[in-house]
């Protein structure tokens, strides 16, 4: 027994699987991804009487078909990794539906222990489940547990360990699916056994059932490994399908499902479930729903809950974000005193510290946001939001659950697309999820706001509030229309079935919330952190190198010298000593700063980013942008608020604080090139062009790098077209 015992934990979503997993493994768990897909694989170690058991948490599913990634992942794990035992967690208050999945594990034949969860909830509802009777009828151990309190989990794991030590071979259960299908199955099984078809991975009867169910994954695998046998099986399945269609107008897969439920109902009727009260009784959860999904009160409560979540997140994350900001400012100041001025100092301060600061700056926000989302999700409210919003979002090819990511990203101005993109995980429909993921960056996040505020303050100061509201609505409109466009083109396809459970309301466990929040945050720091740091350094390099040629640097130095020489010596001494300055010394300082700012402007223009910005003028005249704006937009790829500081450098104003943009606003207003039309074109461009790279990295993590690059190209093209339209139409009309 050198090999470690592996136990797979499986069950329906909402059956309490994650709670049980957390109760069993505590902090001894880690999260990875199943190879090639974005489905999380969680595993951990549980000590059962000193014996370590490896627990693998399979994704929550209702069935074992090949329709969703989660289901394919779950069954691939079972047949390829061959865990010794499967612990199937079922919700005692909803036994019939939960046993449908158990039934499919029985057909696969894997040794199984059933964890009968939430017996307390069931009891409150007047449902009493006779575990011994159920165990006797199913022929396997059934252990009543309460995962939330940990009650019964010890006994459960001992039963699982005992089974792992005892039974090794798989014993597929033979269920009857009606005479026609049973007869065909016997024939198919004979064919499969004779050809040893897929014999090293799957039981013969199970393969036959999958052929009858028209299971794409198994059929494709069959065609690859043994085309001859696969063809015979397909023919047999087609014959019986046609026969069923002709005689009873149904499909084999429907018939199989009906018989599985028949089998379950037959077991439950044999005294397994006792109802103490009338089954129509209103449970607490239904009473809550009478208010929360009420036609009038429902939407009002929803707005209140979402605004509340928003308010809490962005209010309480502000302080830690500021602390982090001051810490990194302090760090930068320390490095400046320790490292002599030059490329190394610049790399450390502007490249690395700013990059790391940028990554960690999001952390308090992500932490709080995910705590809020986890609370709404675990409590069951998120499913109600999807239920209420679905009708609207469906018009745009999305899903009711899309609302959350949009809100988080800035649907109420001031969110952040990073947690928004990560929040799309709650969507189980792949195409709807992708469309949501790609369009959430259109929302006006907190970093775009100061830029938009600056632009509107220059020319539209009197109507600033109204315009900002309009811009929020514009963002919503654009995101939804873009989503519709994607769903009609690259993400074309039928709507994924909406059929979903509205789980009973529950108070989430503190432990569950903490684990969930920490996982998300850590994932962000670890995976995104490394890449974001790299890109930050690259962008820094692009805006720094190549440095000004020596002759130009010498020119600026000479100018400084000339100014210093012309000034009265007393003022120079005062300037060099620092402290409070007399008027003459202050004038000297201003003149010197002006030279330094000109030098910074020249250096920026000379850098790679500057050359790129200048080169881009060949197309950027269309929306009316000059090279200075172009460089600022390149900087905005690092983080949108950097647009302001880059514009400041480009207009030789030196460092501009995003909080106080007065001088920049004055300069821009005075520029002949800047007109209200151009400001408007720039505003829409900034709203819709490529997401900042923190978001791009998150899109790559949640989807793929291909989609991340697509989103950069798609958004920038769209923004460019829109801005051009605004500028050209505006110039024409005014």
């Amino acid at each position: 027994m050198a090999q470690q015992t592996t136990i797979a934990l499986a069950g329906n979503p909402n059956a309490g699987k994650t709670t049980l997993f957390n109760a069993l493994t505590g902090s001894r768990q880690h999260v990875g991804n199943y190879p090639g897909v974005t489905v999380e694989q969680k595993e951990g170690i549980h000590l059962c009487d000193g014996l370590p058991l490896r627990i693998v948490d399979l994704p929550g599913t209702y069935s074992l078909t090949a329709y969703s990634v989660e289901e394919v992942v779950a069954r691939d794990f079972l047949v390829n990794d061959r865990p010794q035992v499967i612990v199937n967690i079922v919700d005692a208050s909803n036994l019939e539906r939960n046993l449908y999945l158990s039934c499919q594990f029985l057909e696969l034949g894997i040794p199984m222990v059933i964890a009968l969860n939430m017996i307390d909830v069931a009891k409150d509802r007047g449902i009493e489940v006779d575990a011994d009777r159920l165990s006797q009828l199913l022929g396997l151990p059934v252990i009543p547990i309460i995962a939330r309190s940990g009650q019964g989990t010890g006994q459960l794991m001992r039963a699982a360990a005992a089974m792992a030590a005892g039974q090794h071979e798989w014993r597929p259960r033979k269920l009857s699916y009606g005479d026609d299908l049973d007869a065909t199955l016997i024939g198919m099984e004979a064919e499969i056994e004779a050809a040893a078809f897929l014999a090293d991975t799957y039981p013969a009867r199970w393969v036959a059932i999958k052929y009858l169910e028209n299971d794409e994954q198994i059929m494709a695998l069959g065609r690859q490994t043994d085309p001859a046998c696969a063809a015979v099986l397909t023919d047999m399945a087609t014959t019986v399908t046609d026969h069923l269609q002709a005689t009873v107008a149904t499909y084999p897969e429907a018939m199989i499902a009906d018989h599985r439920y028949g089998y379950i109902k037959a077991i439950i009727r044999q005294g397994v479930v006792h109802h103490a009260y009338d089954t129509d009784r209103l449970y607490t959860s239904d009473r809550i729903d009478r208010v929360l999904t009420n036609r009038f009160l429902g939407p009002v409560c929803m707005m209140a809950v979402l605004l509340g979540l928003y308010h809490i997140t962005f209010t309480y994350s502000q302080l830690p974000v500021e602390w982090l900001g001051s810490f990194f400012d302090w760090l930068a100041a320390t490095v400046i005193t320790l490292v002599p001025a030059g490329p190394l100092q610049s790399l450390l301060v502007s490249g690395i510290i700013k990059g790391v600061g940028g990554v960690l700056g999001f952390v308090p926000l992500i932490l709080l946001m995910f705590m809020g989302i986890a609370f709404l999700e675990d409590s069951g409210y998120l499913a109600r939001v999807a239920f209420m919003m679905d009708r609207i979002f469906r018009i745009f090819g999305l899903h009711g659950s899309s609302v959350m990511p949009y809100i988080v990203s800035g649907g109420i101005a001031g969110g952040c697309a990073v947690p928004g993109v990560m929040a799309t995980r709650t969507l189980r429909s792949p195409k709807e999820r992708m469309a949501t993921l790609l369009t959430v960056p259109f929302m006006n996040c907190g970093a775009k706001l100061p830029v938009l505020a600056l632009l509107t303050s220059i020319f539209f100061a009197a109507y600033q509030a109204q315009i900002l509201l309009l811009l929020t609505l514009l963002a919503w409109g654009m995101a939804l229309i873009a989503a519709k466009f994607l769903r009609l083109t690259v993400l074309r396809g039928e709507a994924t079935p909406f059929v979903m459970e509205l789980p009973p309301y529950r108070l989430p466990t503190f432990k569950g919330l903490m684990i969930h929040t920490w996982e998300k945050t850590w994932q962000y720091i670890r995976k995104a952190g490394t890449v974001i740091l790299g890109i930050s350094v690259l962008l820094w390099a692009a805006m720094t190198f190549p440095g000004l040629p020596d002759s130009t640097t010498a020119q600026f130095a000479a100018q400084r010298q000339a100014v210093l020489a012309a000034a009265p010596p007393a003022a120079v001494a005062e300037y060099q000593a620092g402290g409070t300055l007399s008027p003459t010394a202050r004038e000297l300082a201003t003149r010197l700063t002006a030279i330094d700012n000109l030098k910074s402007e020249e250096a920026l223009r000379y850098s790679l980013a500057g050359r790129f910005g200048t080169a881009m003028e060949t197309v950027s005249w269309l929306p009316g942008f000059d090279w200075r704006t172009n460089i600022a937009l390149v900087g905005g790829f690092a983080a949108k608020e950097i647009i302001i500081s880059t514009l400041g450098t480009a207009y030789s104003l030196g460092k501009v604080n995003p909080e106080e943009t007065g001088s920049l606003a004055k300069t821009l207003a005075a520029e002949p090139h800047w007109s209200p039309v151009m400001a408007l074109a720039l505003t829409v461009f900034i709203m819709f062009y490529s997401p900042c790279f923190a978001t791009v990295v998150c899109i790559a993590r949640e989807a793929s790098w291909r989609w991340a690059l697509f989103s950069m190209a798609f958004n920038t093209t769209l923004a460019f077209l829109f801005a051009t339209l605004v500028y050209q139409m505006g110039t024409l009309l005014l």
């Binding site: 439920y261 079935p497 059929v499």
Partner: protein, 78 residues
Amino acid sequence: MPRMPLRQMQKNQTGTITAVKVAGELGRRIREMGLVPGTEVTIQGRAPLYDPVALRVMGGTLTLRNNEADHIEVEVAD
């Protein structure tokens, strides 16, 4: 006992499913949630925009869109 598509049922009306007339992914999603012939369903309510619909099925609550409910035929008591 009149038969009708699930979509036409009124709030709080109870019926027994007689047929689920759809194959493929949608059919399977509907069945795996327990919506198979013989199952009793009660309409619990509708979303603020009358779609989707919420059903009480075997001690749990399910929701599906009206165009999905069209495929489910129900027999209701008068």
